[in-house]
Amino acid sequence: MKYTEGSEIQDTKAPSGPIEERWEKRKFSAKLVNPANKRKLNVIVVGTGLAGGSAAATLGELGYNVKSFCYQDTPRRAHSIAAQGGINAAKNYRGDGDSIYRLFYDTVKGGDFRSRESNVYRLAQVSVNIIDQAVAQGVPFAREYGGLLDTRSFGGAQVSRTFYARGQTGQQLLLGAYQALERQIAAGTVTMHTRHEMLDLIISDGRARGVIVRDMVTGEIERHIADAVVLATGGYGNVFFLSTNAKGCNTTAIWRAHERGAYFANPCYTQIHPTCIPVSGEYQSKLTLMSESLRNDGRVWVPLRKNDTRAPGDIPDEERDYYLERIYPAFGNLVPRDIASRAAKNVCDEGRGVGPGGLGVYLDFRDAINRLGRDAVEKKYGNLFEMYERITGENPYEVPMRIYPAVHYTMGGLWVDYDLQSTIPGLFVIGEANFSDHGANRLGASALMQGLADGYFVLPTTIGDYLAAGPFGDVDEEAVAEAEIKVRTKIDRLLSVNGHRTPDSFHRELGKLMWDYCGMERTEESLRKALERIPELREEFWRDVKVTGTAEELNQVLERAGRVADFFDLAELMCLDALIRTESCGGHFRAESQDADGEALRDDENFAHVSAWERGPDGPVLHKEPLEYEYVKMTQRSYK
């Protein structure tokens, strides 16, 4: 695929000076909106997950006139609801040496030095307020007998800073945000549009001024105008078809904004989660994550011998390979996600995998049950064990769980500056949808933190700086009409093909291709293959897809087809991004770039930058944003 390299891009909004003071400085320098004016300012927030839900609620509280959109039947169902493990915050309630600085440090290091120091520091600072906010809303975090909040340690951290609500942290946090949002809806500051899918961005006078959405019940195409647009539409892991994301997760909103000029940063950074339930058959529609917290007590192993078909209980300890404990004695089963995932893939590639097809490793609780007792284990992980049994029909108290890595999170997303504003003025992007603060790899329990930091605290401040210049007056009618026609044309085209394959069958094929060629391990060869195959498949899609029904009704086939179409384009950009980043970093592992031990090898000289892609008329244009590290010294990540 052809691409050109454009000029460098800079984040001009982050203040300079001591890192601890930057956010204060920015808050102070940001222009304020006159309270009387706020009511006249309209903001569109697409997405009601942790990021979008908290943002819409907070903007409503501040007095803006907010319109909120989501594709589910209620804002409470956004995919954030599925997060299990927990949320990080530098509260240091344990007195175990945690601090804002340490969370900052861990995140920069965990992200393999591909994130911005200013952003990450701010994230760590704000993390503290999130817990306060959530508790005040009535989020029932786990507590100890003294009545104070409990915490646990989570993959990649040596301090106990993860707050949790059993295995349903995301659900409880989202319900907190959802309730705050409903309160604003009742107050009339937020108008909610459920079952509405954003299909295009309206740009007028160079500013983002609205969205074109489809009412998924009636099929009506609607235009909504505002003074600023916030995208909080989540991640695009579903480009792999099978992922731990909800079925509806899509790239459509951010991709169409990208088509309108927003830069897409680091599309190739995807995170593979090491503890998912293995695939059981071709019909599989999604993968289920088992919380990473299981690795606190479960031990990961595979048989020493290849093709060992004995039942796990019949394999004596000497013939088991607790490979994570063996290779990484310091962190053992708690190594970061990418390392754990790749290690699992490696042992399976050696033919030592277990379960149907040899695509799994054991996560064994035998020792934990012996040590802590079954009751204690049940208390801690009972609901996860139940969930596992429900899906696999196997009882993990008796037989070790089988796990395998699966696509889980996308670090890439629309490029934003320190103010969370994209390259289109007035278009803000928050949560997983932006290229985020996680660099090349996200630490466990940090996505919830980022989504809520963005939504409750950062965006509401920074968007004011932009809106202070508003209201921005009438929009260009022609621009609106053009966007609407574009959307209608695409829908008509999908409906008129009337071929022989379902949208899902294409999606499945694309997903396999991406997993095989642009998954856990990428090589120049695999990526070139993918880049060859994707356009062919896309061409076939537009020639042979079958979409039944009409555009004027609830039409789930049409919805899916539209999303798959965008995934094709995104997949191509992902592969291109992965191809030219010839280093390994975080979730991006190029087989060509590894050290003697098979560890990811960064190339800081050539790749210490964010790759921000512009969609030019003649193909993608790459803009690099150089990354500098003043506070955390760049070192090779080591968890040995």
Partner: protein, 264 residues
């Protein structure tokens, strides 16, 4: 290895699915605003308020039944004892208050309770009917343990019919062989005469109905009044069960005793 080159266990089952199809059956999303129950009487219009009425009137009726049962048991102490008791009921507080004052008051409260109880029951079942205009096609299997809960309305109607008949029988003596102006004990003994075993059977069925109604109803009343909670639940269910059992046994003893000739 990738999951592309893996062969799965083949999918060989087949099932037959009968599925409801169709476009919108009702206008979607017409937001409704609560008419806040601030104004007087609002509470009684709310579904919860009606339930409270049922619980309170139910409780009154249960109290009456307990006393009534104890009174009935006096028949075992002999006809006179029973007649005296019936007489005492009517002369309570005499001469302070005229004949039958207390009993009449009790009757008024009882009638009011029955009426309110039935009013609430009827309006709640109308609500329920409106809330599910289209019935399920598949026969619904109860997932909650306990059939008693599902026969509340049927049971209530049975009890109501029974009470009417019962009043005609033992209170007014209209359908009683001993006639209107007999002493209560005569009516009772004549009414449950072995030759009239079917009357006893009606009472038996009715009393069992009452038992079932109360086994659920009593617990339900605790729940409605908000007394149930995790720690108390067991005790409350037990209480409900015990009270109903005592009532059933206590009520059935006299008629059965008469029918089987224990009391003559």
């Amino acid at each position: 290895m990738t999951w592309t080159d893996h062969r799965w266990i083949p999918s060989v089952w087949s099932v037959t699915a009968t599925i409801e199809r169709g476009a919108a059956t009702a206008p979607v999303s017409a937001p409704k605003k609560a008419q806040r129950s601030r104004r007087p009487g609002g509470f009684l219009r709310s579904s919860n308020g009606k339930k409270v009425v049922m619980a309170v009137t139910g409780a009154i009726m249960v109290l009456f039944l307990l006393l009534h049962m104890l009174g009935n048991l006096k028949i075992f102490l002999g006809r006179d004892s029973f007649n005296e008791y019936a007489h005492a009921l009517r002369t309570l507080l005499e001469p302070l208050a005229p004949y039958r004052t207390v009993l009449t008051l009790v009757e008024i409260v009882l009638v009011a309770s029955v009426v309110l109880h039935m009013w609430a029951a009827i309006s709640l079942s109308r609500r329920a009917h409106h809330a599910r205009p289209v019935k399920y096609v598949a026969k619904k299997k109860s997932q909650a343990n306990g059939y008693a809960t599902h026969i509340m309305r049927f049971g209530g109607i049975t009890i109501a019919l029974y009470v009417v008949w019962h009043l005609l029988d033992l209170t007014f003596g209209v359908v009683n062989p001993a006639g209107f102006d007999s002493a209560p004990a005569e009516r009772m003994i004549a009414g449950f005469d072995p030759s009239r075993w079917w009357v006893t059977l009606i009472y038996l069925v009715a009393v069992v109905m009452v038992g079932l109604h109360l086994r659920h109803g009593l617990w339900s009343a605790f729940q409605t009044l908000g007394w149930a909670n995790r720690t108390r639940n067991k005790a409350l269910r037990l209480t409900a069960g015990l009270v109903s059992a005592v009532l059933v046994l206590g009520f059935l003893a006299p008629p059965l005793a008469v029918t089987f000739g224990v009391v003559k």
